[in-house]
Symmetry: D2
């Protein structure tokens, strides 16, 4: 937080100088990059590396940590789906993603969830969900899985309302911080290694105020300010795909 | 539920006769065994096999499903522990175990939780937990993990109270039904295979009203009624061990 | 194999017509795409989807199956590395990759292997490896891990020669077909889902003789012939990175 | 090795005295316990804890490390089995177990292997295996899995011979040291914690020359000499079970 103030930045710059730090690699998201930009303006060579499980850094197609988090979420959903037996059940699994629904979308697509609620898209019309659960039950579908991004949250309250409305046992699983832990997957380790090496190479060339990123499928580096000004959106094709795969039956009937 | 009534049992018996079922293997807990006992009294050869993730079937030292569930819980706690960084945090992880704290105890011991709350033992004195969190923080301990059995439950409310009382960020993870899923571990597959084979062997010998169990480290079979009358308790040594391992620092200071 | 002959292709075309097959999705590598191209020329609408654990289909940056395979290999290397204790040891782990070293490269980078032998690059100068093992031992390094792609192979014979030359216990692990199995990772499930959906969309539009691919970080479709004519090479940056990370000590000393 | 000589033992005793070591916990197998016994005779309080992945310490029903190793082996076999498609294949998976076949037996039972070759039992009559592979193929069985304990070994040579004799593609996977690594399972962590605590409790009571063990399903402690004199055998019931489950079809036909 101190990095948002001029005194905080000057203090950080002084710490770097006192400790003989010639170059800094800042790993994080846009907030960390703004801090890095401030340090760079004060003459500390700084390179940014995008690291967050949420995937919501606009300048890059991939952020270190996403693959590990999304596999953790997917494995949890797999295990919940395994428990479908003769009992009817609705399961709500709350995954991380305060502003962005990438983890919800990917884990939902991967584990075949019936509903994926994204902060960017959800219209809070729970009746639609309730109706579809009832429709599917009529067609013999026993287990209905809803992936709920934490940006929407309140999964236990949602579970109570859905159980009351459908008469079907509904339970919430809140995955929480386990999505930030575990042994990193291969993609995260390799991406982290390559991006780290590129950051070091840039510092060794005396560069500063750059962020390493993946764009167009390639590893490149961008100016901090340019990177911070970028926008990106979640893929509509992928969002629609979740619904197509789970609602096919309903759509056909209509 | 119908198996608790005489008509329900007679209906089940008729279904067995209509379908030429000579013998039945009932996999479950005490409730399932009572149903099996009723069928056996009506002449359907029935053998019970203990299956529950909770480990709380008194006649046996092991129940099919426990090892898989407790490893799922432990891996979740491992991942939460990984997230300890420079931030102080209290994490509450709610695991299954309505009446019995075996899953909480084993996952807590295995993952080094600071507190394990068991339905059989918890005195609901939250102030003790709060004091210990504060004590530990003074000694530099950054991450405090509490495993809460669902029989105590209300983990999100507990998290709010603890955060208010300690000023440390406190989050709850509710593992839910994922503890009932996943690929079975080796111990569950082998135990299931052996117990299943023994059940078949017993039926082949014309036996009935028996349950396969592990006692004294060996696979044996018991009379249903004898098994249902047994009692067992969670190990005090193991419960005390959780506390010794985590409270050593506090105890030494005292 | 029959698809390489005109009779084979005509037979396949007839089978499609007899069974009312309007469109075909061919999942595999270049061989499968050539077969698909032949069918398309005979009027069966065919779309290709790139699937192989080896990543060696030139028209695309990603092939379904690679992520799962490379994580299996990496986890095996992780487990071997865990066994380093007071004993000195050289471990050779043979991974899949007959013509291409992508699995070896990624698992080697991810698990910090000292040597990665790639079919595209290996010069069969084992003395260099032996010398480096001896150099490192002098500097206190106890465990030396070599990832050997199956295209080079003969890991057990290599182990014997290295043990004879260095005097250090050397064992080979041959991962084999386990790299083709296991539950697919999130990336493989999502990529498979998206590519499958795109293939269906293309067939629904009456398209034929196209292959879905990832190029420039985006999902696109290409003409079969265009795709089959493409070339690609393993990244030199990544290959050099393996060596930089493990040989830093040696290079500095020189 | 030095612990087998009197000078070696006296040196070890001196090291303990020089470093003010009051008590020692020796974790390993019979060899480690003999060393511990020697130290105890010289007045160093020593307690043994059984640790080996092989399960072949006679005084105890469980040894720390077995569960983790056997799950690693089982997961590898699971992945190999996944690869069964339209191709016929024979897979040989070599697991650890120089003198004892516990890992082979448990992973074979758990993963449904057709053959499990144990050092204690194998008669080296490969023709029997070959005949059964051919029999099964006639009945439509596509994938034949053989678990081979390293005490028998030579899996790649066995693969060549079987491929030549049956005409079916046969590949060997050598799991090697990965069976000694990985994150310990819950059972290993809990058993290790309990046995470690018991060892400390014994030392705190001034005891010596004891080994902690599991017997009759309970944790107890035994005199070193008594423990070293014990014998145990692999369960015939379990060995026969592997064969019953896989050879049922053949036996019925006979």
């Amino acid at each position: 937080m101190e990095m948002l103030t001029e005194e905080g930045v000057e203090q950080a710059v002084q710490v770097c100088r006192d400790n003989g730090i010639d170059g800094l690699v800042v790993i994080g998201g846009d907030g960390s990059f703004r801090g890095g930009l401030a340090l760079a303006r004060h003459g500390i060579n700084t390179i940014g590396v995008p690291g967050t499980i949420d995937l919501d850094i606009s300048c890059t197609e991939y952020t270190i940590g996403f693959d590990s988090a999304v596999n953790t979420a997917m494995e949890a959903v797999d295990k919940v789906r395994d428990t479908s037996t003769s009992h009817e059940r609705v399961s709500i699994i709350e995954v991380m993603g305060r502003n962005a629904g990438y983890i919800a979308l990917w884990s939902g697509l991967a584990a075949g969830a019936e509903d994926v609620l994204l902060p960017e898209k959800y219209d809070y019309d729970e009746q639609v969900i309730v109706n579809q659960i009832i429709e599917r039950r009529k067609r013999g579908k026993k287990h209905h899985i809803i992936i709920n991004a934490e940006g929407i949250g309140h999964s236990q309250a949602m579970a109570k309302r859905i159980e009351a409305a459908t008469g079907i046992e509904t339970r919430a699983t809140i995955l929480g911080y386990m999505q930030r832990g575990g042994s990193p997957t291969c993609r995260d380790r390799v991406t982290g290694t390559i991006m780290g090496a590129m950051a070091v190479d840039l510092l060794a060339e005396g560069k500063s105020s750059r962020v390493v990123a993946v764009r167009g499928g390639n590893y490149i580096d961008l100016d901090f300010e340019e990177a911070l000004a970028m926008q990106k959106e979640i893929s509509s094709y992928e969002v629609d795909l979740v619904h197509s795969l789970s609602y096919t039956l309903i759509n056909v009937q209509k």
